[in-house]
Symmetry: C2
Subunit: 211 residues, 2 copies
Amino acid sequence: MKTKEMIDKEFIYVSKDDKIDEVSIIMENSKKLAIPVVTDDLKLIGWVTSLNITRGLRENKEFISEIMGQKEEVFYLHENDPARLAVIETSKHKLMSLPVLDDNDVVIGVIRSFDIVDTLSSLYEIKVCKLYEAMENELKGVNWEELMEASALLHRRTTGKKTSPKDYEKNIRSSTFGEAIWATGGLEKFFAGLITVGELVIARKVGKSKK
Amino acid sequence: MKTKEMIDKEFIYVSKDDKIDEVSIIMENSKKLAIPVVTDDLKLIGWVTSLNITRGLRENKEFISEIMGQKEEVFYLHENDPARLAVIETSKHKLMSLPVLDDNDVVIGVIRSFDIVDTLSSLYEIKVCKLYEAMENELKGVNWEELMEASALLHRRTTGKKTSPKDYEKNIRSSTFGEAIWATGGLEKFFAGLITVGELVIARKVGKSKK
């Protein structure tokens, strides 16, 4: 995934010669806390946050050029940079948003921190049963009932609590990947649990075929 | 994980009787785009963003009470709410931050969207080899070399590209979970691939023991 797949293309931009009070109204109406400053052909030359605006208004400045952050100080990404970089930059520099440029320094969009939260959280919201379905598809000759039986058995072994295969199924249909990794104590542990289920179901299958 | 484990406790707050221009300076110096408005005993009564401030300055308002969002309109969470809710609210309502309250409506901290990005991204940054190590630990009697051999073999089967077990190992030591799920086309597919490795390594083991 590249940064250009995460951008908001309907972004607002201003010129360095725009008046501060007018830009202020635009930002309030569009609820934007930071916007790029561009040339007539949309090349990035600066960045204005609502905190630059409050200072400008308080100090009776007139034009955006007097208060904007210069391009050299702006965190921006190239459209073909991996989307992962947007995540890393946002988190490292505590950014609320950052502009994305093409080869000609033209701003083609903006990535916002809550859009990143949205993208990252969609991973967390995947239902655990989807992973079991992937396991059922991969392990040829193993069916869903066998998976649930093995899981319920393993759940009892590790927690001491008796759970029926039906209850186990109900649980994984309602719980998400995010909940599961927090509940099991991390990705590695969650994953190790699933591997153990896979191993157990194969062992039980081999055991049955010997009878 | 609960919201209280994600909060910034060193947050800035203001009173409804504070002057707008003074709060403006505080927010600029601390680089805060939104802060809670509280009573003398720190109970939440409102929320001020830098966009409320720009409007207040432009319209010559004097006090925070004239421009703040009222408590009823503020998105906030309880300290014992699951951290997941902070992720969901931020993403759904495009928030940059939200206050967290205790049982007495006292603000105990603030969660910011880039802190959430930070927390979520730490999951993405786990190295793929950690998952292989979890697999090695779980699958008793299977060693690391066998895992790498099976993976290299499977990689060749699915991509057609010849990879040595050593190269495969180098690859999983440098690549992250985030890169891997984007590269394989999603969590389910990534996970299915690992399950197949587990199955193959067991099959190869059974095959060898028969000889």
